[in-house]
Structure formats: C-alpha cells, structure tokens
C-alpha cells in the first residue's frame, strides 16, 4: 500500500497531469464557446447537443477523441521509462519489491489517465449544463448525433441524456486508463519517453484507420470511445477489445515484474 500511495502521490502532483487536463479543457471550452456563438441561447437547444462528446458538428469533438491517448499518457505513463533511464527506480526497488513497484506504477498511470480525460469532459458538461437545459434531443435535428436503436444505449440518449453522458465519460476514462497502462508496458522496449507516450496514440490511430475500412469501424477503439458513435458498436465488441488489451497489458506487466535485475 505504501508503494501505491507513493506512486499516486507522484502521479497527482506532477505538472503533466495539470497540463493534460488544461489542454483537454481548452478544446472543450473552444467547442462550447463556438456552440454558444453560433446558437446563442436558442431555446430549442439542449444539453446533449452542446456537450463536447455528442456535438459533432465542429472539429473539436474529433480533435479531443483523436488526441485522447496522448491526454491519458502524458501525465504519468512516461515516468516508468524515465525512472529506468535515470536510475530512480533503484531508489524505489531497494525499499519495495519490483512487483509492488510495477503494479503501483500501472494503477497510478491508470488513475491519472482516467482523470486527465474525464475532468475536461466533466467540466464541459458542467459548462453546457449551465447554458442549456436538460431535455430530450430532437431526433430529426442535424445537431443531434442521432443515436438510433442499433447504437449503444439509445434509450439513455433519448430518455436520460445525463446518464448517457456520465456513462460515456466513465467509458472514456476506462479506455484512457488502459492507454496509460499500455504506455507503461511498452516503456521496457522504448528508446525514449516520447516513444513510450506516443505508442498507444499511434496504435489507436492506425487501428482506427485500418478497422474503419475493414469492419466499418465497429471494432475500432477510436470509434468506440466517441459518444457521438460514428459507427455502430455492440457492447460485446467494446468488452472484447477492452479485455483483450487489458489482459495483454497485465500479462506484460506481470512478466516484467518477476525476478529481474534493476540495472
């Protein structure tokens, strides 16, 4: 528990977490600001049309969701590489086991990734809720993502938009945490911190592009995490992709936290 506390303390007191949250919040603020400029206080507009996740008419939705792995990995995931590179891991591994260190590093990275992505979305929700009323979106409006029955959670989208939004913020946070853990796992083979942080982003974008062509994007995480739901994704696909990535990451972490030299 001490090692976990130590890693969490480092993760939540680092400047990169705040920079990451700030960048995400700037994108969210630009989106909401532009929506306000274009539509003013139009009484027909509702919260779910103004929120970053489901407001797809501006570039900011795509920008946020494409950059999501970077926001997740920037705060803390790269520290495993820098700990090894600088020799700081020696300070830790004389006081705790390597397994405990690696596990705590992954948990702290997951938590920081979760927070870095969910805070800007929550702040945007707070801002949008202050400007626009909660209400059922007009299915025929071009402003509405149009989550029909074949998409995920259509009844929530049309009936309880708040829950739909909060559910997707949670899903996005979970995926963001996973990206951060992936970055920690790949650090072992990275030549620098940059490549460790960039790895999940590159995989995310490449698989997004490839799977978009192969399977209409339904297996693509890039499409899955977007509450606008650019393509039809089933729950089982989301669970399979998440569990597969999580299992691979956990196995790699376990493998490298076994008896290994700290050089």
């Amino acid at each position: 528990m001490r090692t976990l506390k130590f890693e969490m303390n480092r993760a939540f007191h680092g400047k990169w977490l705040y920079i990451s949250i700030l960048l995400g919040t700037i994108i969210a603020a630009l989106d909401l600001g532009l929506f306000r400029i274009v539509y003013g206080s139009d009484k027909g507009k509702v919260l779910i049309q103004a929120w970053l996740g489901t407001n797809y008419q501006f570039v900011y939705n795509s920008l946020f969701y494409v950059l999501m792995p970077l926001f997740a990995c920037l705060p803390y995931a790269g520290t495993y590489f820098s700990d090894m590179d600088s020799g700081y891991d020696r300070n830790i591994c004389v006081k705790t086991s390597r397994f405990s260190y690696m596990t705590s590093k992954c948990v702290a990275s997951f938590a920081s990734g979760f927070v870095a992505v969910s805070i800007p979305l929550l702040l945007d929700l707070y801002g949008a809720a202050g400007l626009y009323p909660d209400g059922k979106p007009d299915k025929l409006s071009f402003l509405t993502a149009g989550i029909i029955d074949s998409y995920l959670f259509p009844e929530l989208f049309n009936g309880r938009p708040w829950i739909y939004i909060l559910l997707f913020i949670f899903i996005d946070g979970m995926f963001a945490g996973l990206f951060a853990v992936m970055s920690v796992c790949i650090s072992r083979w990275s030549r620098n911190r940059f490549s460790a942080v960039m790895f999940p982003f590159v995989v995310y974008v490449l698989t997004g592009v490839v799977l978009d062509g192969v399977s209409d994007g339904c297996w693509s995480v890039l499409q899955m995490v977007n509450p606008e739901q650019p393509s039809v994704t089933y729950m089982y696909q989301m669970v399979v992709v998440y569990m597969f990535t999580a299992c691979v990451s956990v196995m790699v972490t376990w493998f490298y936290s076994r008896r290994r030299d700290v050089l």
Binding site: R2, F6, R10, G87, V94, K95, S97, R259, D261, V262
Partner: protein, 234 residues
C-alpha cells in the same frame, strides 16, 4: 564444504567457521558463492564475504571490476545466478525480496527533478514508513544541505546532488548503508563531514559498505578492505 581461491566456505550450518571467524548467520551480511553473468560476461565470480554490523567495509577495484554490481546484489537489485546473500539471517530473493533496512547510493544520485531535496527525501521516506519529517530534515542537515532550500533537484550542483544521494542513504539510519563512490564531486570540507557521519553511524552499529577510488580515503574509513578483480574477491 568447498574451497575457492583459498577462501573456505562453510555456510550451510549455523555457527560454522570461515577463515577462523565463527559465523553467526543472523548478524550482518553473508555472501555465499555468489555468481552473476550479464549477457554472457561474468560480473560476479564465486564471491564469498562476511560483513558484520558496526564495521565499515571498503571495496576497491578498477572500473568494471564488479564493485557496483556486488553492491547492487546486496541491495537486492541483482538476481544471483548462483549462490546466496543472507542478510540478518534471511536469504535475499527467497525469504525476503529486498533488504528490510537498507540505504543506498549506487552510481549517480537520481531524484525527481521538479521536487526540492526535502520533498524528494520525504517521498522516499514514505515508501519505507516509520521515518518522521524531523529525521528527513536531520539527514539533510547531516550532509550539509538545508532542509528549507526551495531550489529543485534540477537546479542542484553536482556536489549537492551527491549530498542528497548520501542523505537518502543514511535517512532513518538503516542497518545497512551502501555507498558507491560517495565522495565524488564533494569539496574537502564536506568530505570531512561525511566521513565523521559515517564513523558515527558505524559506532551506532550500522554496517557500511563503501566503494571508492581514493585509496587514502578508503583506508582511513574502512575497517576491512576487499579488493575486487574481474568479479572476484582477491
């Protein structure tokens, strides 16, 4: 019983005799036939050592002779290919994953660049538990650093970084203190301070291992000096 380089090893039983010294395996460090290869090259070659509490042990040898690797092995950072390291009666990597009470400065001191010296030590103290804020301040003061210094580690001079590394190693007065080239980059005055602190710690019953290139300093500080060549104690 086996014999290597005239060094008799008889560790398997409690109270055995090595070079006419009766060994009580519950005290200090007992390194038994330790071997380690990294990428095919022999780093430690059948190392046998006994180190008792209340003494300073010096390690001397050329660059690449295996001093640092031996220190890493004692700290639990290196997994032996063969042999064992017994610390206060517990075998490293079998009974314990890392030594219960150890402070180490191995190679270059490395800390979080954005934190002050005090904050860095406080963070590391939290890993161990049982080290109060006053003990953190005391460790800094003992090495000549100001606990209230607001400069971050990034802005420290080479000597200050080294002092912080030593402060980290002696913080909380662990039973075993491992210092690899501790007086590198330190001015004469600080070397004197560090030497007297190490002697005080030895007198309190701490086991101290030092690797140093400076023969005079090593001879002054150490109760026993081991020479290492090509991973072997000679």
């Amino acid at each position: 019983m086996c014999e290597r380089d005239g060094y008799v090893v008889l560790f398997k039983k409690e109270g055995c005799t090595v070079n006419s010294v009766t060994v009580n395996k519950t005290d200090g460090i007992h390194i038994v036939d330790l071997c380690k290869k990294i990428k095919g090259s022999v780093i430690l070659d059948h190392v046998n050592l006994i180190m008792k509490p209340g003494k300073i042990y010096g390690l001397r040898g050329k660059n690449g002779s295996g001093k640092t690797m031996l220190m890493r092995a004692v700290c639990g950072l290196l997994i032996p290919d063969d042999g064992e390291i017994i610390i206060n009666g517990e075998t490293l990597h079998r009974d314990i994953r890392f030594p219960r009470s150890i402070g180490a400065l191995i190679e270059n001191p490395s800390f979080i660049p954005e934190y002050t010296g005090y904050r860095n030590l406080k963070m590391l103290a939290s890993l161990e538990g049982g080290i109060s804020d006053s003990e953190v301040c005391k460790a800094l003061s003992r090495t000549g650093l100001d606990p209230d210094d607001s400069r971050t580690f990034r802005k420290y001079s080479l000597g200050m970084k080294q002092k912080l590394g030593i402060a980290n190693a002696i913080m909380g007065e662990p039973d075993i203190i491992v210092l690899d080239e501790p007086i590198n980059a330190l001015d004469e005055e600080t070397v004197g301070v560090i030497k007297s602190e190490l002697i005080k710690l030895r007198d309190k019953g701490k086991l101290i291992i030092i690797a140093c290139h400076d023969r005079e300093e090593l001879e002054y500080l150490s109760d026993t000096i081991y020479e290492i060549q090509n991973g072997r104690i000679v």
